[in-house]
């Protein structure tokens, strides 16, 4: 016999592993614990317009990928006549359209679905751009030097330097006014940082707001400190990335690069969608094909099958509990779980009525069969055929009466029903109808309890999305298998006895 210590160790290990997987799924993969939660998905459409000059056209556009806060779910492009390729260059993906000849105003569409996902990270971490010194013309060079000098005095590191530069541009209004005509504010700050040997660049970001159309990208500052970076609003100096901001171009590449066209511009429109977690998760899993053992990776049909299978352990645990702790008598060890599975298909009331109808009329016919003196296997087979005929008749009658729900009794497991009828019938002959009602009622009660648990959307959600819970259920069953205390039914059974003992009487 395995020692108690190693048994409890196994139980604790199972429970910990299961809970660990569950927490991992929740925290890292972002699977919520409740099914009602919805996930925010942004559908963003980029419209690129340019005038083609009649020559071959290559239009290349920076596109947003999975990044901090957002997971890319799907992308589509609508661009009649154009060839489209996604090209990766230096870790940055770009969409490239090409056509042999085009003339006039061209419109190319690119649509992307982004899942708001706090756990998302860019596949390739952002790397600092090379610090390249450019020389500035006067009088700009002097103005820039003045700003930088003051800011450097008051700063300690790249981030504080950035803040100070932005503050200094407010203080030295004259210089700022002068430099405004030289280059955009974000570029200017980036240039200043670069000349102070701080890697920095301008990135293009999209502020997400539901239902907005014809939006343009805004410039943002990305300042590096070693391998980390921070984003700064070049206007206000506020540090950090706002929740509703999606980086569109963040690789020091041009947003648009068109040969064979001019007057180009990109505008964005976006809508916000709320999707149930399951849908969002399924889409997310479709994309991540790394070592991710999850049912979401299976085809939809198999997923549906697993959804049912993963519920069985819940029913089984409940049955173990009812039998070992409560002491409910059921006919057939796990028959109630199978009946509960059928209830899931039929719905409770229809299922109950169907079950009682079939088993009840089955018992009547079975009592006739018992007089025919048949061998057991043949008799059970006869009962199976009878059950199938009854199900057929009940379905047909229900359909005629307009009760479409009645059709669903075909979901009952016929063999199990036949055996139930057989057992009940023998029970009836040997122990009387009382015991039949007791065990049949016990089975039905267990089935209904198991059904209520298995049908709860919360439990369905949990078992399907957190495979680790199966290990926890396993641990629970192992623990229950070790329970040596009294059953609830025994508290009743032995009550007269202990009452007598407590009152000091023994016997009469």
């Amino acid at each position: 016999m395995v020692s108690r210590k190693s048994f409890y160790l196994l139980v604790i290990l199972l429970a910990c592993a299961g809970l660990g997987m569950t927490v991992y799924n929740h925290v890292v993969m972002g699977v919520p614990f409740t099914p009602g939660e919805k996930r925010q998905i942004w559908s963003i459409e980029a419209k690129m317009e340019f005038t083609a000059t009649g020559k071959p056209v290559i239009a290349s556009m920076a596109i947003a990928g999975t990044q901090k806060g957002f997971t890319l779910l799907s992308r589509t492009a609508a661009s009649p006549g154009y060839g489209l390729a996604f090209i990766e260059k230096d870790g940055a993906e770009r969409a490239e359209w090409s056509i042999r000849t085009a003339a006039g105003r061209q419109r190319l569409y690119y649509q992307v679905d982004m899942l708001v996902d706090p756990s998302a990270r860019a596949a390739v971490p952002a790397s600092p751009p090379p610090v390249a010194r450019d020389f500035d013309r006067e009088p700009y060079a002097t103005a820039m030097a003045q700003i930088l000098e003051r800011a450097q005095e008051r700063s300690a590191d790249p981030y504080t330097l950035t803040r100070e530069i932005i503050k200094e541009m407010e203080n030295q209004a004259q210089n700022a006014e002068l430099l405004k005509g030289y280059m955009s504010r974000a570029r200017l700050i980036a240039r200043l940082l670069t000349s102070a040997d701080v890697p920095a660049r301008v990135v293009y970001a999209l502020m997400l707001e539901d239902g907005r159309r014809r939006q343009e990208l805004t410039e943002y500052l990305q300042v590096f400190k070693d391998n980390d970076y921070e984003l700064f609003n070049p206007q206000t100096g506020i540090q950090g990335q706002p929740d509703n901001m999606l980086l569109w171009e963040y690789n020091s590449a041009p947003l648009l690069d068109i040969t064979g066209g001019r007057n180009s511009r990109v505008t964005f429109s976006m809508i916000e969608q709320k999707q149930p977690v399951s849908v969002a998760l399924a889409q997310k899993q479709d994309l991540s094909d790394r070592l991710n053992i999850s049912i979401h990776g299976l085809p939809l049909e198999e997923q549906a099958l697993f959804k049912g299978l993963l519920l069985i352990p819940i029913g089984v645990v409940i049955l173990v509990f009812l039998r070992l702790i409560i002491g409910i008598k059921t006919s057939g060890t796990f028959m109630p779980v199978l009946i509960a599975m059928a209830f899931i298909q039929t719905q409770l009331i229809t299922g109950l009525v169907g079950f009682v109808l079939i088993v009840g009329s089955g018992l009547v016919i079975r009592s006739y069969l018992s007089r025919l003196n048949l061998l057991l296997v043949a008799r059970i087979s006869a009962v199976i055929i009878m059950v199938i005929m009854m199900i057929g008749i009940f379905s047909a009658v229900a359909f005629k009466l307009g009760l479409t729900d009645g059709m669903k009794i075909t979901f009952f497991p016929m063999i199990i029903l036949a055996w139930t009828i057989e057992r009940m019938s023998i029970l009836w002959e040997e122990e009387g109808p009382r015991e039949v009602v007791k065990q049949g009622g016990g089975s039905l009660l267990a089935a209904v309890i198991a059904y209520l648990a298995m049908d709860s959307s919360l439990i369905r959600h949990l078992t399907f999305n957190f495979l680790g819970l199966q290990l926890v259920l396993m641990a629970a069953v192992l623990l229950l298998g070790n329970y040596t205390g009294y059953k609830l039914s025994e508290l009743k059974r032995f009550k007269p006895l202990v009452d007598e003992l407590n009152t000091g009487r023994n016997g009469l």
């Binding site: 040596t484 009294y486 059974r493 006895l497």
Partner: protein, 327 residues
């Protein structure tokens, strides 16, 4: 709370030393009964064979039927027997047992006087063979045994059935005993939950301690009105020896032995049960656990059957003297 009044608290049970189903299965049956030995007790035919081999007295075997085509042989088999008993070899809980007390003009009469035809018996036989009464519906063998003529001492104590004595043997020690008397409520069956009367027996003397029916104390047999407290099992020592020797015979540590007292042959072993029920505690008005623990705390040394019985009588007995010597 009327509903709650039907229930007691678990600590009341544990203070009374009541053995519960879970603890019985976990700490006694699965710990002391090796699985491989189960077939010996689950199959009454095998039990009979090992009992005969080790000199334990059993009811006489008339014959067995294990093939469907042989069921017509029943009539021939029991031709010269006035009474006999048909049993499934692997039945449980007394299911599938038919007792015939006499034959007359081709009819076989049950204890309640109901006649059965040879055809009825054949149908019953094929049910047994098909596994209707066996665990898991496995094909079974039918046993035909000679009818037991139970001791006159028990006349009037049992309604239609054979009064049998159940002794729980734990590691070879008798730890509790009771008598099961069938009633009209139990339909001649000796199962307490069906309404049979359970009479707790003193292990030292075989005297009745108390009697219960449907979990409630009774003093008189509900059908015959006899005073149950006057009951004393004769040949008690022989019976205990027979029961305790089943430990060596079967190798099972926790068994229920079912014995009957035949008028001529004395105590006979009817069957062994590797999962004996818990009602014996109600019949005795005490829990099994104290006795089981006493035996478990004994140091491991081989004791003879006589020594074990002596130990059990000393520690688990209630009355000092026999009823007969009193009156």
């Amino acid at each position: 709370m009327l509903f709650l009044e039907k229930y007691t608290w678990p600590w009341h049970l544990s203070r009374a030393g009541i053995l519960g189903m879970n603890r019985r299965n976990h700490s006694y049956i699965s710990r002391y009964n090796p699985r491989r030995l189960y077939p010996l007790v689950d199959d009454k035919l095998k039990t009979k064979r090992i009992a005969m081999a080790s000199g334990v007295a059993v009811p006489e075997l008339i014959g067995t039927i294990s093939e469907q085509h042989a069921v017509q042989r029943i009539a021939d088999m029991v031709n010269d027997r006035p009474g006999f008993c048909i049993k499934p070899a692997r039945g449980s809980g007394g299911r599938g047992i038919v007792v015939i007390v006499r034959q007359q003009e081709g009819f076989y009469f049950k204890p309640n006087g109901k006649p059965e035809t040879a055809q009825d018996l054949e149908r019953h036989a094929s049910n047994i063979l098909a596994g209707l009464y066996s665990l898991g519906g496995k094909p079974d063998t039918m046993i035909v045994e000679n009818l037991i003529h139970f001791d006159d001492v028990f006349a009037g104590y049992s309604f239609e059935g054979v009064p049998d004595t159940r002794v729980i043997i734990f590691k070879g020690f008798p730890v509790m005993a009771m008598m099961r008397l069938s009633t009209s409520a139990s339909g001649g069956k000796a199962n307490l939950h069906q309404g049979a009367v359970g009479v707790g027996l003193c292990l030292r003397t075989g005297r009745a301690l108390r009697a219960v029916q449907f979990n409630r104390p009774v003093q008189h047999h509900p059908d015959t009105g006899l005073d149950l407290f006057k009951l004393q099992v004769p040949s008690w020592d022989t019976l205990l020896r027979l029961a305790a020797s089943c430990y060596e015979m079967s190798g099972l540590g926790y068994i229920g032995t079912d014995l009957v007292l035949d008028k001529q042959l004395g105590p006979l072993l009817l069957e062994l049960n590797a999962r004996p029920g818990l009602s014996i505690q109600i019949a005795n008005g005490r829990g099994l656990l104290p006795n089981l623990r006493t035996v478990e705390q004994l140091e491991e040394r081989r004791m003879t059957v006589a020594q074990r019985i002596e130990f059990a009588k000393q520690h688990f007995g209630v009355f000092d003297r026999n009823l007969i010597t009193l009156t």
